[in-house]
Structure formats: C-alpha cells, structure tokens
C-alpha cells in the first residue's frame, strides 16, 4: 500500500448542530515520504431532489431532474505544497458550522426523493505522475432541539369496518372494533412514538397488527410539484389473536437518517404522515383492514 488518506471526526456519532465547532484530524500515512501539491479540505452540504416517475411521468422524471440545492460549500487549503514525512501525520482541523446568507442548515435526511447530505472531502493534489488522493466522509447535522416544551396533542381513534377507506366490498369485512390513542401527534424525533391500542372485539381471529410509518415528500419544480408517500418502516405490535380488551402498547423508535423533523421550504417539503395500523384478519388472503 502506498499512501493513504483518512478523515477522523472527533465525535464518535458524527452528529453536529448548526453553529457548533466541527473538529477532527486528517491522517496521512505512508511508508515513504509523500510529495504533494497541497492538501485541501472541503465542506459540502446539498439537497438532492428527484421526481418520482409515478407522479410526473417517466420522461419528465428523467429530464426534469431538479438541480441540487447547495447549502454549504467551502474549501480551505490545509497544508501548502510540500512533503509529508514517512509514517503517520495527523493534521487537525476545526471550523464552525455556519451558513452564509439566509440559508438554513437542514437536518441530514436520506429519503427516497429528497436527500440532504453533508460531506467532508479531503483532496491531496499531487504531481502529474501520481494520482490525486481523495477521501470523503459524511457527517450528520441535526437541527437544534426545539426550545420550549412541546405541548402533547393526544389523539383517540376508533377503527371499525366503517371507518376504513378504499374498501371494495364492505360486506365481506368481518366485524371488529379497535380503540386506541396516540399520546401525541407531534413527536420529538428523538423520542419514540407511543400510544395504546385495545381490541374490543373482532369476529375473525387476528393474525397481526402492524404499525406503518410513512413519509410524505413533496418536490417542487417547474411544472408544479410532486407529492409522494412511501413507507419508512413497518413494525408489528401484535402477533396472533391478542387478548380482547387488553391494551397493547404502540411504540416505535424513529429510525435516524431516514426520518427528519417535518420540513417545509420553497422547493421541497418533508413530512411524516400519521402512522397507520394494519390489522390482518386470520382468513387466508382475507381483507386488510387499514386505517
């Protein structure tokens, strides 16, 4: 192995908030002395938008790919052209996470149609004979925790065959009554979603009750906007024919990266739809009761 380049960020979880100091080291290591034309460090933050083929059509999706929006981009020269001694050299760096102008540091988010990503890139320029060395490293930006206490907004719900939407033949559905409540419809992203659910009665034996987390992403473009709902994760909260009138907890940890606080900008929006509970009846291929 020749020379290698590595970036080590000080925080193990690589999570930073706006305004904080991001620090770390660039590690250059090699057996022989390394001649170079300068070592540069770049911070980059972009929002990538993509239109879904479903909502705008295949061609549009292909042609009209929306330009990435740059949130942050700056480069500094860490080391002037010269030579690194053989062995391991650590070059520390440190910079505050600030954005220019009216831009906002959105929270890192890996979605389907919207991607918000922050990277650190380190480039080592070298002479013509040797290839330039590059190393990238993602770091994560979380928005600052909200100030002030969130007022919980609990919601009660009841599910019966009548409350279901998009059912073709309502008569075929077995009778059931499910009550429950969510402790809050506004959630802090770091806290799990909690609530309770009680099966008061069900004609058919229950096979499974599942909780589905759905995100809604909206991308704006020249022709208007595209709105898409996709599943993030599906969690089973009851397995088998649960005991009637016994409360079953609803509990879901929001997966980091794949979720982010509800976000609205001029160009795109990310929101979470209310999670859905699915109840599957015991009959094989039986109708799905869906909220």
């Amino acid at each position: 192995m020749g020379t290698s380049l590595d970036i080590k960020i000080k925080r193990a979880n690589k999570v930073y908030h706006a305004g904080e100091m991001l620090s770390g080291v660039v590690v250059v290591s090699g057996k022989d002395p390394v001649q170079h034309q300068g070592l540069f460090l770049t911070v980059e933050g972009t929002v990538n938008l993509q239109l879904s083929a479903k909502s705008v059509g295949v061609f549009e999706a292909f042609y009209n790919s929306v330009k990435p929006i740059q949130i942050i981009n700056s480069t500094i020269e860490m080391v002037k052209p010269g030579k690194f001694p053989p062995g391991k050299t650590e070059i520390p760096f440190e910079f505050p996470l600030h954005v220019k102008g009216n831009k906002v540091l959105y929270e890192t988010y890996h979605g389907v149609f919207v991607n918000i990503q922050y990277t650190l890139r380190c480039d080592m320029k070298r002479s013509l004979l040797a290839k330039d060395l590059t190393k990238t490293c993602e770091f994560i930006v979380h928005s600052a925790p909200q100030k002030g206490k969130l007022t919980p907004s609990p919601v009660d719900f009841t599910i019966t065959p009548e409350t279901l939407q998009n059912v073709k033949e309502r008569a075929l559905l077995p009778k059931f009554l499910i009550r429950g409540h969510l402790n809050s419809t506004n959630c802090v992203i770091t806290q799990p979603l909690t609530g309770e659910l009680v099966v008061e009665s069900s004609e058919a034996a229950i096979r499974s009750i599942e909780l589905q987390l759905v995100r809604v992403e909206t991308c704006g473009c020249a022709e208007g906007y595209a709105r898409d709902a996709t599943e993030i994760q599906n969690i089973q909260i009851a397995d088998g024919d649960v005991c009637r009138s016994l409360s079953v907890p609803i509990y879901m940890v929001f997966p980091r990266l794949f979720t982010c606080p509800t976000l609205e900008t001029t160009n795109f929006k990310v929101g979470k739809a209310r999670p859905q509970e699915d109840t599957e009846a015991a009959l094989h291929g039986g109708p799905e009761a869906r909220n």
Binding site: R11, A12, N13, H110, G111, V112, A205, I206, I209, T230, E231, I232, Q233, N234, I235, Q236, I237, A238, D239, G240, D241, V242, C243, L246, S247, V248, P249, Y251, M252, V253, P255, R256, F258
Partner: protein, 911 residues
C-alpha cells in the same frame, strides 16, 4: 578351596534398642521449627509487610514467619485484599441498606437458594419431547422481495452488501422439514455455532440475522409438545448473543489506560462504545416482527447499563407491555419467562416488572380456554390435560422469580388472585412448585381442598398432588394436620388408574410418609404401591420411580431391624425383576447399611435379608462384568461381612463364614476378606482362652485353619495366595497348630516357582520381582520363629526355600537375588543369637520357655513388610507340642554356614 570361617556377630538387643532410641526434646510453643507451617501474614497495612521483608533474616525465629511470596508484593496479599473488599459488600447486602449498594453487588442479591435456570434447563429438555417431525424455517434471504420497500430507504451499498450475505446464506439455510427431535437439536446447535463463527469473523449483520431468525422460530407453535424444549434451545442462542454484544461493547470501553470496573456508571463509558450500543438498539427497534424484536432486545437488556443508569428500569416495563401484543398464550408466557430470567440476572432488584408480568399473565389467562387455542389443539390432536402442563416450566419460573425473598403478603395476594380465576389448577400447580415450601406446608389443608375442587378435565390432578407432596417433603406441615393430610392425599392417589401417574405421585408421597409416620403407615403405603404396580407387570415401566421409593425408605429407616420388619419391604423388593435394576437397588441398600450400621449385628432377620441382597449382587457377576463393578460389589459385600458378629458364639460365626464362602465364591476380594475374618476369629479365640486352648477350642481353631487352607487355593491372584498362606501360617503358628503352619509354609514355598515374571496390576503389566522380594523378606522374618519339623531335619523350610530361590529365573540385571541372599544372611545371623528379639509368646504361665525358642531383631530390608504381616505374633502362645523340638540334634550335613547357625541358635538351650 579354603573356607573362611564365618561367625555371626553377637548382639545385645536390649542395649541396642536403648541406645538407638531418639531422645525426646521438649519444644516450646513458638520456637523455630523447620517443619512448622509457614503462616502467611495477612498484612493489614503496608508497614507491616515492609518491615517483614527488610528483616527477613531475623524473621525465622519470630512467630509470624514472612512468606517470601508475600514479601515480594509491595502491599497486601491480593487474596486477603479480595477478602477485605468482599466483606463490606457482604455486610451491605446483609443489612439491605440501600438499593444503590445492592445494584452494585447484584450478584450477592441472588443467593445460592435461588434455583438457577441452568438446573431447570436439563429438566425441561428431558421432559418435553416429541416423536413428531419438526421443521426449521429460516428465511435468511427470502425476505428480499417482501422487504423491498423497506430496504429501498437504505443506501445502495448497504443493500447490496446485505444481498450478498443473503446469497451466501441461501444455499445453506432453507426450510428444513421432517427433522427428528435430535436433528432439530443438532441444527440449533449448529446455528449457535455459526452465530459464534459469524461474530468471530466480524460479520455482525449475519450474527444478528441468525439471532432474529432463531427467535422467529419461537412464534411457531406447531408440534406444541416440543415448545418448551425449543424455548430452551433458542434462548441458549439468545444468551450467547447477548453475551457477545455485551462483551464487545465492554471491550470498547477498555482503552489503553484503564479497564472499566465491573460496576461502572454510564459516565465512564466512552462515546464510541455508547454509539455502538445505541446502534444495536436502533437496529433491533426496527425489526419488523414483534417476537424477534422482543427476544433480541431482551437478550441485550444488560447493555442498557452502558447508556444510562435508569435504562434497564425503563426498558423492563416497556418490554413487559410489549408481550401483551403476543396473541398465543403459550408463546407469551414463555416470553414472560424469558424476560423474568433476563431481568433477574441483570437487575434483580426490579421486582415491580416481575409482578406486572404475573398480573398481566392472569389477565390473559382466560385465553387458554378461548377458541383460537382450542382450534389449534384440535388441529394438532393434543388434549387439554397434556397441553396445560406445557405452561408449567415458564410459569414455575415466573412464580419462582416473584416469590424469591418476597414478603408473605405478596404471596398471599398472589394466591388470592389465583383462587379467583376459574379452573386454576395450572396456577395452583405453579404456586406449589415455586413458592417457599414452608408457605405451602402450613396451608396444606387449604391446598388439598382447592385441588379437590379443581375441574377434572383440565390440568391433571396427580400432578397437583405431586407438587404438594414435593413441598411436604421439604417442609413440615402443622403437627395436628399430618395424618389427615396423608389420608386425604392418599385417598385421591390410590384412585389413580394409570400406573405411571400413580407411581409418580406415590414416589413423592412416600417421603412424607417416611418422615412423619411409623413403619405401619409406610408398610401400608408400600402395600398400596405393590397392589397398583403388580397388575400387567406395570412395574416394568416404572423402575426409576420404584427405585427412588426404595431410596427414600432406606434413607429414613437407618435401623435395619426396623426396616426389614416393615412387612411389605421385601415383597416390594421382589418387584424389581430386571436384573440390572435389582442389583442397583441392592447396592443402594448395602451402601446405606454400611454407612449407617454402627454396631455389628447378629439379628437373624437382617442377616437373612442382607445375605439375600448380597447374593443377588454376587449372582449378577458374570464374565462380562467390569472390574470396577466387581470391586464395588466386593466392597459392599465385605462391608456386610465385617458387620456380622455373633459375639462369643464363635462356632456360629464360623458357620456363617462357611455359608458366605459358598455364596460369594465368584468374588475374590470377598474370599480374601473371609480368610482374614476367619484368621481373626482364630486369634480372637486365642485371646479369649488367654493363649491356652482347651481341647474344644483347639479343635475349633484347627477348623478355622482348615477353612483357610482349603479356601486359599481357590484364589486366582498369586500374591494374594502367597501372602495369605504366610499370614494363615502365622496364625496357625500362634495357635499351636504346628503341622498346619508347616503345611501353609510348604504350600507357599511350592507356589513360588509359579510366580510369573509379569503380573497385571490395575490393567497394566508390571514386573513381579519387587513383590516377590517383599514377600520373601517377610517370609524369612517369619521363618525365624518357625520350629523345625522333627522328621525333616534342621532348617528344612529355609533350605527348601533357598532351593526354590536358586531355581527361580531372576531378571538378568537385577540385584533382587542378592538382596534375598542378604536377607537369608540376616536370618541366619539372627538365629545364631543367644536370645531372639521377637518370638511367639507362650502364655504368661510359662515365660521361662520363651528364651531359646523364638526371637527377633530385624535388620534392614524386610523390616516394614514384616511388621505388617505379623500382628498375630505378638500374642502369647501356650506351651505345647514344641517339646518335640528338644532333643533334636542334627549337625553335620550341608554347608558350614548352616552348621554354625544351627548349633548356636536353635538348640543351645535344649542341650
């Protein structure tokens, strides 16, 4: 050839003895002594040990000798340091001061009186078995399509990597059908191994997948009889996983500078470790299915310690609630059991969630009788009475966890709650098996009442009575209730139709009966067992239980005369008709007899019964019996023979030995024991007669000697024969049976040429010469005191022996032959003395005859061996036929050596 005249040195044994004796020097306590044990000083302070190490030269005389090992250490002895730190912890736990302290020492909270899971494990595996075919369904890769939407969120790289893993898995892990139980167990074990391998090769994702797939198997309740065992097998894997994760994160906390203490707080954990730990929890939180998510999270519950102090106490209630989502009551009760187990291990002080588990369980209890479960049972063809006991292991465990060190009020409350529920036999059973025996025993009448009220169709009643019986065996019910309890219980037990059920129950209750009642009741119970087990030879299927009944009975009746007077005891023994089992039982009886019989006995009942028992054991010996087994049997029979004594009735005793010989002829050690016993009997007689045998006792002693003489040849071991010949010869000599003694010695001499070069000792071939040497030394020592036969010339035995030695082919390069000749020289020299140092004493009435006849001094090589062989010779011997020795003059023939010896030693006084 010139002959050098040999003279033996004159010795004055008395003077030598006086001069050789060591002088006793009184020793002051605390004096220096080289053999005095070194005491490790438990150095409380550094000061002491430093002082000790610098002044090590003078320390030898001080009472606290400084151990060189401890002086190397700068400071206290690590072991005593450990003890010092352990002490305050123990006292803290004992005083129950504060919860925080307890948290730190959680090991000390679960005491040894808490029956660990490990001991339940094997029991469950053995009890819940099936002959039906099982299947393992491992969808390692097949979820790919199904989870497409979910994985779409993952980055491309992660997905392809996972797919690669899937592909890797798909070849080997698929749905496996038609497995036998053993196959199933093996597969699970393989999975356990592949989990470890995956972990070791850093494939954490694969390891997690294996664990998830395994815990998924727990949601499958087909072949329901096997479910408890399946639970045990799979939770083993989960335990492995939990341990691996914990250790990994723990090792991340260990940096170069410091090692994390056992009871760390989350502040000491570094960020990387915390981050990894969090990652595990997030990953597990996103497992789709409920049951794997629950089990995997529970398995790494301990890791919460890295994140926050309250982590575990927050997690446990949440997980407890989570179980409510499990619909199948059997699956959920086992999930609860697992949570309780993990909870007890990790945070035994958190009792609340245990209780919550219990109450939640009661809430869902009615589900067992719900339609879903009933339908399932119909499909699988399982009856309710065999379904309900499947709950027992899990419930027992939950109950045990709750009731451990629980206050009486809680137990009472739990019982009340159980009572309220209909058809509570299952609960009742678990209450009885988990709660403190004392608690149950004091309320046994209540329990009997409750058991009676139970619905017949549900949980089998005999199991309930069995559980109650187990408690009563451990703790005593109130005095006044005892008989009533037995009556009530036995009334039900005796009505059980199925002999298996019956004997399982009876086995337990026998202990209670033995403990609190007399032989009359025990006899009644045994009679009842016989009555139930005899029809259709039902006992053939229940040997283990019957055996355990016997064991319990003999454990409580140490007095064998009482035991054998229990009317039904011997008929009970007759039920053991399979030979191997019968021998086992006999062995047990003999073991107890040997252990508890203090006094020798002549009780004809005991003798008859035990002779029968021993005969049974002996008759089981055949060509295929192992050496060890034979040794064991012989040991037991010998123990019995030693315990038989008819007191002064020596003839009876001898006839017993005769009978025993005819009975136990196949066990050599027993024959050897019999010969020794008879020899002892002869010496005993001599002692009673004070050395003067009457006509009658002389005849009796000769009978004893004859017994030995005809028994010895039937032995196989050549050295056993040789030594016994010598020994019996000595006894005969002591009892004035001179011609018999002569016969013994001659027999021994004629046997020597047959000694093989190599003999088998403990399965290994060893050269025999050293044994022969020892024997011969011994023999020569004896020959010193053997009078010559009147017709065979002087020293005829010695000469004969020398001839044999000369002809014997000795090992080429050994000095044994020379050693023997030196012994002979010693002998001759001893014979040439005026007085012999040892001799067979004549009786006290004729001390003057002692002088010339026998003597002793014992030079080197054969000393120790001789001492052990000669106990018989210390007794006085009555004067008798040795008159024939006098007037026997015989100089002349043979070598010069002999002449001299003969002249001086033997016949000096008779001239």
């Amino acid at each position: 050839m010139a002959v050098f005249p040999w003279h033996s040195r004159h010795r004055n044994y008395k003077a030598e003895f006086a001069s050789c004796r060591l002088e006793a020097v009184p020793l002051e306590f605390g004096d220096y002594h080289p053999l005095k044990p070194i005491t490790v000083t438990e150095s409380k302070t550094k000061k002491v040990s430093r002082k000790g190490s610098t002044s090590s030269t003078s320390s030898s005389s001080s009472s606290s000798v400084v151990d060189p090992l401890s002086s190397v250490l700068d400071g206290t002895d690590p072991l005593s340091m450990f003890a010092a730190t352990a002490d305050p912890a123990a006292t803290a736990a004992a005083t129950d001061s504060s919860r925080k302290k307890r948290e730190r020492e959680d090991n000390s909270i679960i005491g040894s009186d808490f029956e660990p899971w490990a001991s339940k494990r094997g029991e469950i595996l053995a009890r819940y078995t099936t002959t039906e075919k099982l299947s393992i369904n491992l969808f390692m890769g097949s979820e790919k399509g199904k989870a497409g939407t979910a994985t779409s969120a993952m980055s491309e790289k992660v997905r392809t990597r996972l797919e690669e893993l899937d592909d890797f898995e798909e070849g080997s892990q698929k749905e496996l059908l038609n497995l036998t139980q053993q196959d199933y167990v093996n597969r699970i074990e393989e999975l356990n191994q592949s989990l470890k391998d995956a972990w070791a090769s850093d494939q954490k994702v694969k390891a997690l997948k294996i664990v998830i797939q395994c815990s998924k198997l727990l949601s499958d309740t087909s072949v329901i009889q096997f479910y408890p065992s399946k639970f045990v097998l799979i939770t083993d894997i989960l335990d492995t996983f939990g341990k691996l994760v914990y250790e990994r994160i723990f090792s991340m906390c260990v940096d170069n500078r410091s090692v994390l203490p056992d009871h760390f707080s989350p502040e000491n954990v570094n960020d990387t470790a915390k981050e990894t730990c969090l990652n595990w929890f997030f990953k597990i939180a996103s497992i789709r299915e409920l049951i794997p998510r629950f089990y995997v999270e529970a398995s790494i519950l301990k890791c919460n310690k890295f994140l926050s102090k309250t982590g575990i106490s927050e997690c446990l209630p949440r997980l407890t609630c989570m179980i409510r989502g499990i619909g199948d009551p059997l699956v959920s009760v086992y999930a609860r059991a697992y949570l309780c187990r993990v909870g007890m291990e990790v945070a035994p002080h958190l009792k609340e969630s245990l209780n919550k588990n219990f109450f939640d369980f009661l809430l869902t209890f009615k589900q067992i009788h719900g339609d879903t479960v009933q339908n399932q049972l119909v499909v699988q063809g399982v009856e309710l009475p065999s379904y309900l006991p499947l709950y027992s292991p899990a419930m027992d465990w939950i109950f045990q966890c709750i009731s451990y060190h629980a206050p009486e009020t809680l137990l009472t409350e739990m019982m009340e709650r159980c009572k309220k529920l209909g058809n509570n036999a299952l609960l009742l059973n678990s209450v009885m098996s988990a709660f403190r025996a004392e608690f149950i025993a004091t309320r046994s009448m209540d329990f009997i009442g409750m058991i009676k009220e139970c619905d017949e169709s549900g949980f089998p009643k005999h199991l309930l009575f069995r559980s109650l019986g187990l408690n009563l065996a451990l703790a005593d019910p109130p005095e006044s209730d005892r008989l009533q309890i037995l009556n009530e219980a036995w009334k039900v037990i005796t009505k059980l139709k199925n002999p298996q059920d019956y004997v399982n129950c009876a086995e337990v209750w026998v202990e209670y009966t033995c403990k609190h009642f007399t032989k009359r009741e025990v006899s009644t119970v045994l009679a009842d067992v016989i009555k139930h087990m005899t029809p259709d030879r039902a006992f053939e299927d229940s040997y283990p239980q019957l055996q355990s009944i016997i064991k319990k009975v003999i454990a409580h009746f140490h007095d064998f005369s009482v035991l054998f007077s229990v009317e039904k005891f011997l008929p009970f023994l007759d039920m053991f008709q399979k030979e191997s089992v019968r021998v086992e039982v006999c062995k047990c009886i003999m073991e107890v007899f040997i252990k508890h019989q203090q006094e020798p006995t002549k009780d004809p009942v005991i003798l008859n019964a035990l002779l029968h028992v021993c005969k049974t054991m002996h008759d089981s010996v055949n060509a295929l019996t192992l050496e060890d087994e034979k040794r064991m049997l012989a040991y037991l029979i010998n123990g019995f023979i030693k315990m038989v004594s008819f007191g002064r009735d020596f003839e009876q005793q001898l006839s017993f030995y005769v009978e025993a010989r005819s009975m136990f002829c196949n066990l050599e050690p027993v024959l050897v024991q019999l010969i020794h016993s008879v020899n002892r009997l002869a010496m005993e007689t001599r002692k009673v007669m004070k050395g003067n045998h009457s006509r009658k006792t002389a005849a009796f002693v000769r009978a004893c000697v004859a017994y030995c003489f005809i028994t010895i040849p039937s032995l196989v071991g050549i050295f056993a024969r040789l030594n016994l010949y010598l020994h019996s010869g000595q006894v005969a000599l002591a009892n004035q049976c001179l011609s018999q003694a002569d016969a013994f010695f001659k027999a021994a001499i004629s046997l020597i040429p047959e000694v093989p070069k190599m003999i088998n000792i403990d399965g290994k071939m060893r050269p025999s010469e050293s044994f022969l040497l020892e024997f011969l030394c011994n023999f020569f020592s004896t020959l010193l005191i053997v009078p010559d036969h009147p017709e065979h010339g002087v020293l005829s035995l010695v000469r004969e022996l020398l001839g044999v030695i000369q002809d014997y082919t000795w090992e080429d390069n050994s000095d044994d032959k020379v050693r023997i000749y030196t012994c002979v020289l010693h002998l001759l020299s001893a014979m040439s003395q005026e007085t012999y140092l040892y001799h067979v004493d004549k009786g006290p009435e004729a001390p003057e005859l002692v002088g010339p006849f026998l003597l002793q001094q014992h030079p080197g090589p054969w000393g120790p061996a001789q001492q052990q062989a000669q106990p018989a010779l210390r007794q006085p011997v009555a004067p008798g036929p040795e008159a024939r020795l006098c007037g026997h003059q015989d100089h002349g023939e043979d070598s010069g050596i002999h002449q001299e010896a003969k002249q001086t030693a033997r016949y000096g006084s008779s001239d």
